[in-house]
C-alpha cells in the first residue's frame, strides 16, 4: 500500500500553501513605509548585527546582545507599527543578517592573502556531538538555488539560520502554527543540505 499512499495528495497541503502564502506575504509588502525606512537603517542594523554575531561567540557581553534583541522585538511589536510591518521587520532583519554574515566572510577572505575556502568556516555546533562545519558561502549559494525551487523555504532558512529566530518566533511572526514551521523547516534543511552535497 505504500505506493498508494504516496500517490494520494498529502493531507497537509493546505497548511503548506498557507505557510507559503504567509512567507511570501512578506515580499508583497516590500514597498511599505517600514521597508523604506529600514533600507536606510541598514548600516545601523549591520552594526547591531556585528555585535550580535560576536555575541554568539565567546567573548561578548550578554547584556548588549540582550539590548539589541530587545530593541528588535520592541520595535517590531510596538504599537506604532502595524502587524503587516512586523512580518516585514522579522523577515527584513533576517535578510539583512544574511547579507551581513556573507559580507563578513567575504571581507575576511579578501583580507587574508591567498585566501581560500578553508580559512573561514562557520562553526554551527549547537550542542553535543561533533561540530558540523558548514561553509557560509556554500550555504548562501545553495540558498540562491533553493529560492528558485521554493522561495518560501529559502526565506525560512534565512530566518532560522541567519536571523537566529526560533521556530516559535517564526510561527508567531508569520501567523502559522509551530507544527507547520517545524515541518517546513525539516523539508528546507533536507533540501538545502542535499543541494550543498555534490
Amino acid at each position: 500500500m505504500p505506493a498508494d499512499r504516496a500517490g494520494t495528495p498529502p493531507s497537509h497541503d493546505e497548511n503548506r500553501s498557507e505557510f507559503a502564502d504567509a512567507v511570501l506575504a512578506v515580499d508583497r509588502r516590500r514597498t511599505s513605509e517600514l521597508d523604506r525606512a529600514f533600507a536606510a537603517y541598514y548600516p545601523e542594523l549591520k552594526k547591531i548585527a556585528h555585535a550580535r554575531l560576536r555575541g554568539s561567540g565567546l567573548d561578548r557581553f550578554m547584556q548588549t546582545t540582550a539590548l539589541v534583541h530587545d530593541s528588535y522585538l520592541r520595535l517590531a511589536s510596538g504599537p506604532g507599527i502595524a502587524i503587516g510591518d512586523r512580518l516585514q521587520f522579522f523577515a527584513y532583519s533576517s535578510r539583512v543578517l544574511r547579507s551581513i554574515v556573507v559580507d563578513l566572510v567575504r571581507e575576511e577572505r579578501a583580507l587574508r592573502r591567498g585566501g581560500g575556502a578553508d580559512i573561514v568556516t562557520l562553526d554551527t555546533a549547537a550542542g553535543e556531538g561533533l561540530p558540523a562545519l558548514v561553509d557560509v558561502e556554500t550555504v548562501n549559494d545553495a540558498l540562491e538555488d533553493l529560492a528558485k525551487l521554493d522561495p518560501a523555504l529559502a526565506r525560512l532558512v534565512e530566518m532560522r539560520f541567519f536571523g537566529g529566530m526560533t521556530e516559535d518566533e517564526i510561527a508567531g511572526a508569520l501567523g502559522v502554527s509551530v507544527r507547520t514551521v517545524s515541518r517546513e523547516w525539516k523539508k528546507a534543511r533536507a533540501l538545502l543540505l542535499t543541494l550543498v552535497g555534490d
Binding site: A3, R36, L67, S71, G80, T124, L130, K148, A190, T194
Partner: protein, 854 residues
C-alpha cells in the same frame, strides 16, 4: 547537486509524508515510491538520509559564528616608526595583534620596550579618549611582578600602540618544564603571580586574559605579569570599531577562560580567579583540567561549559605526585575553578591564604565543609578533646561562611556591574544619538524613533538607579528624556502631537539637570542641555495652556545668559540669549498683545543678531534664529496691542523673514526645521498680504506653501506638527479664496481643515493652535456658506441647508468663545483673534436673520 523545479514539486509532497512517518517505516515505504515515482525516489532517499544526519547534528540551527583563521603574516616591518618608537624585531603575535621589540627614539628616553600593536584600527575622538583614560589607569599599576605600561597611544593612521616594559625571560610553563621544580617551588612562583594579581585587583583592574604565556620569569627568577588590563583596552577598541579581526584571539585563551566569560562575556575578579586555578592546575599536574586539551583535541566552548572538572589527583599522574596533591591542593584547585563565580575564592588574597595555609599545614578553607578534615587538623595541632574542638570550629565557621558569602557577592557584583554598566550605556547612547539622528530624516520614522529611544532610556534609567551618581550619565539620561519629549511633541520639529507627554518628559529632564547643576556647578555642557530642555518645555507649556510657560521662559533666559557669558562662548552661544529674549517677547505679544516693551526687546535682539551675523565665521544657527525673530517682530507690529498696528514696518519684517528663510533653506533643503521656518514665514507673509488686499501674490504664496506641506505630510503621516502646519496653511488659503470671492474653494479648503483636524490624535485636539485653526476654519466656512446662500444661485432648500449648517458652525464658534471666557488658562488666546471671531459672529448673525426672514 542540482534539482529541477519540476522534480522538486514531485518530491515535496512525498518528503512531507516521509517526514511525518516513523523513521523505521520509511525504508519499506521508499521501496513503494521507487515503483510509483522512479525519478523522485533516489533524490528523496538522499534527502531523508540528510535529514537523519541533520537531526543528530542539528545543523543550520544556530546563528553562524566565525571560526578562527590560521596563518599569520606581519602587518608591520622592522625600521618602521610607530609613534615615538622604531620597530626592531617581532617578539610574537596572537589573535589580539603583534608584539615588537621597539626602541624609544624621541630623545627623551632611550630604552627598549615591548610594543604591542593590537590588530584593530580605530578612529574617532571618543575612542581615543577612552584609550587615554584606560592608559592612565594602567600606567599607575606599579608592582615588582607586573610589567609596567609606559605609554599608549594611537597613530595618525589609527593604529593603537602600547609600550610596555620589555621583559627578557621564559614563560612560567617553559621555565617549569626546563628543570624539575618541587611542589613547594612551584607554589612559591605561583604566589608571586597571586601577589601581582591581588595588587591589580585592589586598583580595580582585572587582567581578563591570564595564561602562562603572559607570565614571564626573568633571569633573577622574578615573576613578571604582562598585559594587565590590555585585553579590556583592546576589546573596547574592537567593539567600537565593529572590527572582527580579533576573533581569532579567543581560542588561544579559551583554555584559561571562565565559564561565565565564555557563556556571557561576564568579566569580574572571579574570572581571574578561575584562570589562576587552571594555571595552577597545569603548573602542579602538568595537565590541563579539560579532557579535550589533554587529548590534544581542540577545546570548544561547549565542552568547557559542560565538562565536570575531575579531581586533579585522580588524573593520570605519577603516584607520589597524586598523593601530594590529593586533599588540600585538590580542594584549592577545585574551589578556584568552580563553575559558579560566587562559589570560587572571593578574592586572590583568600586563594593565597589557602595556599599559605597548606604550606604551613593549617586548615585550608577550601575544605571547610568537611568536618572530619577540620577535626583531623585540630587534633593534630592542638590535641584538644575532639568533640569540643569540632563543635567550636563548626560554629565559628558557619558565621564566617555567611560573612564571606556576602562579601564575595558584593565584590563580584561590583566588577560585573561595572562591565554591564559600560557596555549597556555605550549601546544605549549609540541608539539615542547616532541611530536616532540617522533615521530622523527618514519618512515615517517617528514611531520607530520613539521606540528606540524609550527602550534605550529604560536601560539608562536602570543604570541610574545603581548607586553612585555619575554626572556624565545623568547628562545622558537628561538628554534622552528631552529626545523623547521632542519626538512626542517638539513644538517646532516633527512630532507625534502628544504635548502633555512631551512636557512630562521635559520636566524629568529638567529635574535631572537641576540635580546635575548641584553636582557640577557652572558646567557649560549642563547649562546648554538645560537651555534646550527649558526652551522646549516653555513651548510645550504654552501649547497646553499651562501658565508655567512664563516662568520656564525666564529660566531659559537665565541659562542662555549664563552660557553666553561663559569664557569661550561661541557666536552661537551668544545668539542664544538674544533669541530666547526675543521669543519670550513674541510669545507675550501674541498671547496678550503687543506692547512697546515686547517690540523693543524684539528689535534689540534683531539688531544684535544682525551684528553677530556679520562676524566670521557665519553661523547657520544665527541666521535661522534671525529669520524666526523677523517673522515674530512682524507679527507683533501687525497685530493688536497698546498702539495701532504699523503695517508698512511689519510687511518689511515679513519680507525679510521670508528672504532669510529662503537663504538658509537653500543651504540645507532637506532640513526639517528650516523647511518649517520657511513655510511658517511664507504663510504669515501671505496672510498679511491678503489682509492688505494683495490677493494675487498672497494666493501664489499660499499655493506654494500648500504644495510643500502636502508633500511633507505625505512623507510622515504620524508627524502632528506637520499636520497642524497644514491646517494653518489650509486656513490661510481658505481665507485668501474667500477674499477672492471664490466661495467654492474657500468652502472646500475649510471643510478639509475640519476633516483633517478630526483625524488628529486625541491628545492634539485640545492644543491651542489646533483649536484656533478649527475655529477659524468654521468662521470662514460659515461666512462662505452664508455668502453663497445670499448669492441666490441655488434653490431655497439648498440655501436653507447652507444656513442651518452655518448656524451650527456659528454655535461652535460661540462655544469656543464661551470656553475662552470660562477657562482662565485659555485667556492667552490672542486678543485680536477673539475680536475677529466676535465680529464674524455678528456678521453671521445678521446674515442668518436676514436670510431666514426672507
Amino acid at each position: 547537486m542540482k534539482l529541477s523545479r519540476e522534480l522538486w514539486l514531485q518530491i515535496e509532497p512525498l518528503l512531507g509524508v516521509a517526514l511525518d512517518m516513523e523513521a523505521g517505516a520509511r525504508a519499506a515505504w521508499l521501496a513503494g515510491v521507487e515503483a510509483s515515482h522512479p525519478d523522485a525516489a533516489p533524490v528523496l532517499r538522499r534527502m531523508l538520509e540528510t535529514h537523519q544526519r541533520a537531526e543528530q547534528s542539528r545543523e543550520l540551527e544556530t546563528v553562524p559564528r566565525l571560526a578562527p583563521f590560521p596563518g599569520w603574516s606581519s602587518a608591520h616591518a622592522a625600521g618602521a616608526m610607530i609613534g615615538p618608537f622604531e620597530l626592531v624585531r617581532p617578539l610574537g603575535h596572537g589573535g589580539m595583534g603583534e608584539v615588537w621589540l621597539a626602541r624609544q627614539a624621541d630623545g627623551r628616553v632611550a630604552r627598549d620596550v615591548a610594543l604591542k600593536l593590537p590588530a584593530i584600527h580605530q578612529h574617532g575622538e571618543v575612542w581615543r579618549e577612552r584609550f587615554r583614560r584606560e592608559r592612565d589607569i594602567l600606567a599607575k599599576l606599579e608592582h615588582p611582578h607586573i610589567a609596567r605600561l609606559y605609554d599608549a597611544g594611537v597613530t595618525g593612521a589609527g593604529q593603537p600602540w602600547l609600550a610596555m616594559e620589555f621583559v627578557e625571560g621564559l614563560s612560567l610553563s617553559a621555565q617549569v618544564a626546563s628543570r624539575p621544580h618541587s611542589i613547594a617551588e612551584r607554589l612559591a612562583l605561583f604566589r608571586q603571580v597571586l601577589a601581582a594579581v591581588a595588587h591589580a585587583h585592589r586598583h580595580l583592574v582585572v587582567h581578563r586574559d591570564l595564561k602562562p604565556a603572559n607570565i614571564l620569569l626573568d633571569a633573577s627568577g622574578q615573576v613578571k605579569l604582562l598585559d594587565f588590563g590590555i585585553a579590556r583596552m583592546v576589546d573596547e577598541g574592537a567593539d567600537a570599531s565593529g572590527d572582527l579581526t580579533r576573533l581569532g584571539g579567543r581560542v588561544m585563551t579559551l583554555r584559561y577562560a571562565a565559564p561565565e566569560q565564555v557563556a556571557a562575556g561576564t568579566i569580574t575578579t572571579a574570572t581571574d580567579v578561575y584562570a589562576l586555578g587552571v594555571i595552577l592546575h597545569e603548573l602542579l599536574t602538568g595537565l590541563a583540567p579539560y579532557r579535550a586539551v589533554r587529548e590534544g583535541k581542540p577545546l570548544t566552548d561547549v565542552m568547557l561549559l559542560q565538562e565536570e572538572i575531575a579531581v586533579p589527583s585522580t588524573l593520570a599522574i605519577p603516584k607520589p605526585l597524586a598523593r601530594r596533591i590529593s586533599g588540600d591542593l585538590d580542594a584549592i584547585l577545585l574551589k578556584a575553578m568552580r563553575r559558579d563565580p560566587a562559589a570560587r575564592y572571593a578574592s586572590i588574597e583568600q586563594l593565597d591564604d589557602d595556599i599559605l595555609a597548606h604550606v604551613q599545614r593549617r586548615p585550608v578553607k577550601a575544605r571547610a565543609g568537611t568536618w572530619r578534615y577540620l577535626a583531623g587538623r585540630f587534633a593534630v595541632r592542638h590535641k584538644l578533646p575532639l568533640a569540643t574542638a569540632v563543635a567550636v570550629v563548626v560554629t565559628l565557621l558557619a558565621g564566617l561562611v555567611m560573612v564571606e558569602r556576602e562579601r564575595r557577592v558584593a565584590v563580584a557584583e561590583k566588577a560585573r556591574a561595572e562591565r554591564h554598566f559600560a557596555s549597556v550605556r555605550k549601546l544605549a547612547n549609540t541608539f539615542i544619538l547616532e541611530v536616532n539622528a540617522k533615521i530622523e530624516k527618514l519618512p515615517a520614522s517617528l514611531a520607530a524613533r520613539e521606540m528606540l529611544i524609550s527602550t534605550s532610556l529604560e536601560y539608562l534609567d536602570a543604570l541610574a538607579r545603581e548607586p553612585g551618581r555619575d554626572p556624565a550619565l545623568l547628562l545622558e539620561i537628561a538628554s534622552a528624556y528631552r529626545s523623547i519629549g521632542n519626538i512626542q511633541g517638539d513644538p517646532r520639529g516633527a512630532n507625534r502631537g502628544n504635548l502633555p507627554a512631551a512636557a512630562a518628559n521635559f520636566e524629568k529632564s529638567a529635574n535631572l539637570l537641576v540635580e546635575l547643576e548641584r553636582l557640577k556647578p557652572g558646567d557649560i555642557a549642563t547649562a546648554r542641555e538645560h537651555w534646550r530642555t527649558s526652551y522646549a518645555l516653555a513651548g510645550a507649556y504654552y501649547q497646553v495652556l499651562d501658565a508655567r510657560w512664563r516662568a520656564e521662559f525666564r529660566r531659559a533666559i537665565v541659562l542662555a545668559e549664563r552660557i553666553a557669558a561663559a569664557p569661550g562662548a561661541s557666536v552661537d552661544d551668544q545668539s542664544l540669549a538674544l533669541f530666547t529674549r526675543g521669543r519670550e517677547a513674541h510669545t507675550i505679544a501674541i498671547s496678550t498683545g503687543r506692547t512697546a516693551a515686547t517690540q523693543a526687546v524684539l528689535a534689540g535682539a534683531i539688531e544684535l543678531l544682525e551684528r553677530l551675523r556679520l562676524q566670521a565665521p557665519p553661523e547657520a544657527a544665527v541666521h535661522v534664529r534671525l529669520a524666526s525673530l523677523y517673522g515674530n517682530a512682524g507679527v507683533g507690529l501687525a497685530g493688536p496691542g497698546d498702539s495701532p498696528p504699523r503695517m508698512p514696518e511689519a510687511m518689511a519684517m515679513f519680507e525679510k523673514s521670508v528672504a532669510l528663510a529662503r537663504e538658509v533653506l537653500a543651504e540645507a533643503p532637506g532640513d526639517a526645521q528650516r523647511q518649517g521656518l520657511m513655510r511658517l514665514n511664507v504663510l504669515v507673509l501671505a496672510r498679511n498680504l491678503a489682509a492688505r488686499g494683495d490677493l494675487e501674490r498672497a494666493n501664489g504664496l499660499m499655493g506654494e506653501s500648500l504644495a510643500l506641506v502636502e508633500k511633507s505630510v505625505a512623507r510622515d503621516p504620524d508627524d502632528v506638527t506637520m499636520a497642524v502646519h497644514r491646517l494653518e496653511i489650509l486656513v490661510g488659503a481658505a481665507d485668501v479664496a474667500n477674499r477672492l470671492r471664490d466661495r467654492a474653494r474657500a468652502m472646500r479648503l475649510s471643510r478639509e481643515v475640519l476633516a483633517s483636524a478630526e483625524k488628529l490624535p486625541k491628545e492634539t485636539a485640545p492644543l491651542r493652535d489646533v483649536r484656533i485653526q478649527v475655529t477659524e476654519a468654521k468662521v470662514i466656512l460659515g461666512y462662505a456658506l452664508v455668502a453663497t446662500a445670499e448669492a441666490g444661485a441655488n434653490d431655497r432648500e439648498r440655501r436653507l441647508a447652507m444656513l442651518v449648517e452655518a448656524r451650527s458652525l456659528f454655535a461652535d464658534v460661540s462655544r469656543f468663545l464661551e470656553d475662552v471666557r470660562a477657562e482662565p488658562s485659555l485667556g492667552a488666546v490672542p486678543e485680536y483673534k477673539l475680536r475677529e471671531f466676535a465680529q464674524a459672529r455678528e456678521r453671521l448673525d445678521k446674515a442668518f436673520v436676514r436670510l431666514a426672514a426672507r
